[in-house]
């Protein structure tokens, strides 16, 4: 009979092919990037927590082999399932390029595919999407001594908490010490004890055996004693992993998200604005772990809210946009001194505000806000009808026109419009593309 065995490999580490996948993604990078951007056009933000199926051309990932051209020469092959054909029948060939598998060859060389479809995980997808985006003008790096600390490994110590016990070091020390002090091993003792039992089973021992028995007893006692003063593990052996707090350098940056939730913004507009901020928030969380985000929403008065409220609560009222700017300045003065923080603002609104308020906004912006911020992005949410009306960049709602008049003074001010969900991703990319907004 042959010997054989079963091996349960289910617990083996998964993802053996991860290295291959990374190599593949790297290989097809530029095409995957194109595909990601393309797929974003008709993708809703809600889907961002899912992976994405993308199709890339096989160009950069083709694996060419020599093969025969099915369009040349003479070929013979066999098919199964004849129904009505007789020998000598002649069948018209399907037009070139059309039709399914032309016999064996066509189906064998199935590599003729022109595009390749597969699924990216959410992480891979977002990484690729955010890859060449950045917060512009992140310059005031060293202005603020950040107090944040992280614990780093700092060697081995003799004192510490049990959770940090370094088992390997401890056991190694113990082993060395046991060797040096000649601690008798359990195995050795067991061997002696066994011999002893053997001798004791003998009812009529010889002289020699009695002597041996005595010697063993003495030896065992010695060993016991030795084991008592050379214990298996001694407090001397114990070592702990040491951790030391060390300061972590971070760039101090804050992003203010100002959103209009007034009555003039319809559900659709609010939804668009929320989606935009959702994307912004994801981007910041992913790429700039240390960035502070302040959420401010406003109707005829503004308030600072938490993330949850900002994205999910419903509220309505009149519209005074300047209140949001005032609130923002208030929070900024209070917590984010301009000298120490890189400040960013993203504002979303439908562009309508109380009569005269646009002027107030512009004043606030040019006098107080623009001088202290690194970058200000204004996103106007339109409905589709309006988009046609305002196809020209110079025309627009009140706020748009007002901002338009002073925008040229500031290179770190950007204004743009979103009318459809599919605008969000391109606009986002446009606003945060690397190198597009160099410091003035």
């Amino acid at each position: 009979m042959n010997s054989f065995h079963f091996i349960d490999r289910r617990k083996n580490p998964k993802g053996k092919s991860l290295g291959n996948r990374q190599r593949f993604l790297k290989r097809a990078k530029s095409q995957i990037k194109d595909a990601v951007n393309k797929s974003l056009r008709d993708r809703s933000l809600k889907d961002l927590d899912k992976g994405e199926k993308i199709t890339i051309p096989t160009k950069s990932t083709k694996e060419p082999r020599f093969r025969l051209d099915p369009e040349t020469g003479e070929r013979q092959w066999v098919n199964p399932g004849n129904k009505q054909f007789s020998e000598g029948d002649r069948l018209k060939k399907p037009p070139k390029g059309g039709g399914r598998g032309r016999g064996k060859d066509a189906s064998d060389s199935g590599d003729a595919e022109d595009s390749f479809q597969f699924t990216l995980t959410q992480d891979e997808f977002l990484d690729i999407f955010f890859e060449d985006l950045e917060l512009p003008n992140l310059v005031k790096r060293s202005l603020k001594e950040i107090k944040s600390t992280a614990y780093k490994r700092a060697g081995i110590t003799v004192a510490g908490s049990p959770t940090n016990l370094n088992l390997v070091r401890t056991m190694r020390n113990a082993h060395g010490r046991r060797l040096a002090l000649g601690r008798p091993s359990t195995k050795e003792m067991n061997a002696l004890k066994e011999r002893l039992f053997e001798l004791e089973r003998n009812y009529s021992p010889s002289e020699e055996e009695i002597a041996e028995k005595k010697a063993i007893l003495i030896r065992l006692e010695e060993m016991e004693a030795r084991r008592r003063w050379a214990p298996y593990i001694d407090p001397l052996d114990v070592r702990y992993n040491a951790f030391e707090p060390s300061p972590v350098k971070t760039t101090a940056a804050v992003m203010f998200c100002l959103m209009d939730v007034s009555g003039s913004m319809g559900e659709r507009e609010k939804d668009l604005a929320k989606r935009f901020y959702m994307l912004l928030y994801l981007f910041l969380k992913r790429r700039y772990e240390q960035v502070e985000v302040v959420f401010i929403r406003h109707t005829h008065h503004a308030e600072e809210v938490d993330e949850e409220t900002f994205f999910y609560s419903r509220q309505s009222g009149g519209t005074v946009v300047s209140t949001a700017l005032e609130k923002m300045l208030e929070v900024q003065k209070d917590r984010f001194p301009a000298g120490e923080w890189n400040i960013y603002v993203a504002q979303a609104s439908d562009g309508y505000t109380q009569g005269g308020d646009a002027k107030r906004c512009v004043e606030l912006l040019s006098d107080d806000v623009m001088p202290i911020v690194q970058y200000y992005a204004y996103i106007e949410i339109l409905d589709e009808r309006e988009l046609e009306v305002f196809s020209d960049a110079d025309t627009g709602a009140e706020l748009w026109r007002a901002y338009r008049s002073f925008a040229p003074q500031f290179r770190h001010f950007a204004q743009t419009r979103i009318a459809r969900p599919q605008d969000i991703f391109p606009v986002f990319r446009e606003l945060f593309a690397k190198g597009s907004k160099e410091a003035a």
Partner: protein, 496 residues
């Protein structure tokens, strides 16, 4: 009383499996395989794996150990997609031609499926691997796992040392020539023995240790003298034309560094290892399917499995051997499982109960022992010769096979013969020729290489039946050849 005691017990009665049941099923299957069918197998090793691991194994030629390359990642991504969308089921098993013979069972399989897979892979394929002349002569079942282990480590070390991109370039180029990287007519040298591999690894280690940045600026670090000489000798011994492009390039390329030659050799060896499998798809699958079918039926008739298990087995067996007609949307060529299984069942039928037609076509089978006939076929044929020898009129009728002839110049395809008295022989010959790799893989050989002068490498494609190379892929491949050769490469096409 004794009757009850002798009544054999069921191996299992529900679909859940556990190791206890696997073990007893294995023993029962082994008993039938060895003492009834008289199979001769390598020791078996059976591994239980999860779905994702199956996909992993899939994407790298089904091998448990493989070096890293993006193309495997691509295949994985595609297979995963197909699987998740439900376009493609996973194979129930993967089996590796090695000793011990490793078979993978998926954890999701039911107990019946596990039994089927064990019979199919661990005995059917295993017997075929161990006995078929192609595998015996051309592959090295004992050495393959050691070799793959070496290859994987060697390539990952090269990546560390020379950069993943440089390694990738060589692998890409070598992969493009994989089909032209086999010896077809002469026995390939055995895979390097373990001590040889150790030598190579040690040499790489030595190179690394003695690496000194100062010398890097010197032109052309020379390979160790003994190797260079050995290689020159080998180049002089190659008689042109040479069919194995990878072999020739590995030995004679003017620009490859020693580690690059080693990588080319690894790809060549792996290609050679798979060459017999390409020539025996019908026989290999037919053998495994015949064996599992026989064993499962035998288990049932011995009362070791119940009706439920038998029904489940029949269901999956019949989908494995399903052959759609040519005009069916599901058609994608002739199913090797279907053809192989049908032919082998037919051989048994012709031995046991031949019709007058069979007596005329296969007088030698009349009254022969079907076990011996099949074992002889499994050992001594490949697809092409097996079909030529054993495809019977009955199978041609059952499959309704018909042969077509096509000339690219012609606007029509002609039905050259069908499954009737006049057509049997032509259909059989045509079908057999479809399994002749020589007729489907372009015949490309190295004609000359000017090693002293301009180093021009000349390849020739010998054209059969006017079938030329596909231009687009040809250019892509030649670009890779150029990368390996470093100098001009020319490819000519000549009619035979």
């Amino acid at each position: 009383m004794t009757l009850i005691a002798e009544k054999p017990s069921l191996l299992f009665s529900d679909s859940e499996w556990d190791f206890e049941k696997l073990k007893s099923a294995y023993d029962a299957i082994e008993d039938i395989a060895l003492s009834d069918l008289g199979l001769d197998v390598y020791p078996n090793q059976i591994e239980i794996i999860a779905t994702e691991q199956m996909l992993d194994a899939y994407s790298s030629h089904g091998m448990p150990l493989m070096y890293k390359h993006w193309s495997f990642g691509k295949h994985f991504a595609r297979d995963q997609m197909m699987y998740q969308k439900g376009f493609q089921g996973l194979a129930y098993e993967i089996v590796i031609n090695s000793s011990p013979c490793i078979a993978y069972l998926m954890e999701e399989n039911t107990m019946t499926m596990q039994a089927l897979v064990m019979a199919h892979a661990s005995f059917g394929h295993n017997h075929f691997f161990k006995n078929n002349y192609l595998f015996r002569q051309w592959t090295d079942a004992e050495g393959i796992l050691t070799y793959l282990d070496f290859a994987k480590k060697y390539i990952s070390k090269c990546e560390d040392e020379y950069g993943a991109e440089d390694v990738e370039q060589i692998l890409d180029a070598a992969h493009a020539l994989m089909d032209q990287g086999v010896f077809r007519y002469q026995r390939p040298p055995r895979l390097s023995e373990a001590d040889m591999l150790a030598k190579i690894a040690a040499r790489a280690e030595h190179e690394r240790e003695s690496f000194n940045d100062i010398w890097r600026t010197l032109p052309n670090t020379h390979e160790p003298d003994e190797d260079a000489e050995e290689r020159q000798e080998a180049v002089r011994n190659i008689k042109l034309p040479e069919e194995n492009l990878l072999y020739f390039i590995e030995k004679a390329s003017p620009i490859l560094k020693p580690w690059q030659r080693e990588i080319v050799r690894i790809v060549r060896n792996i290609s050679q290892y798979f060459y017999p499998q390409k020539q025996t798809k019908v026989m290999n699958e037919g053998c495994a399917t015949f064996v599992h079918h026989y064993i499962m039926n035998e288990l049932y008739s011995r009362g070791r499995i119940n009706e439920g298990a038998m029904m489940e087995f029949m269901h999956s067996h019949s989908s494995v051997v399903f052959q759609p007609d040519f005009d069916d949307p599901r058609y994608s060529g002739i199913n090797p499982y279907a053809l192989g299984f049908a032919m082998m069942e037919d051989i048994r039928r012709m031995c046991e109960a031949p019709t007058p037609e069979d007596r005329e076509w296969f007088p030698q089978l009349n009254g022969a022992d079907w076990r011996e006939v099949l074992k002889d076929a499994w050992a001594n044929y490949r697809d092409e010769s097996f079909i030529l020898q054993y495809l019977s009129p009955k199978i041609m009728r059952d499959f309704a096979l018909f042969a077509l002839a096509d000339d690219a110049e012609d606007s029509h395809v002609e039905i050259s013969s069908i499954h009737d008295e006049r057509g049997f022989r032509n259909v059989r010959e045509t079908l057999a020729s479809m399994y002749d790799l020589g007729a489907h893989e372009p015949n490309i050989q190295v004609m000359s290489a000017n090693l002293e002068g301009d180093r021009l490498l000349t390849l020739r494609h010998t054209v059969h039946d006017g079938r030329k190379l596909d231009r687009k892929t040809m250019e892509d491949v030649l670009w890779h050849v150029h990368r390996l050769w470093g100098h001009e490469v020319k490819l000519e096409e000549k009619a035979a």
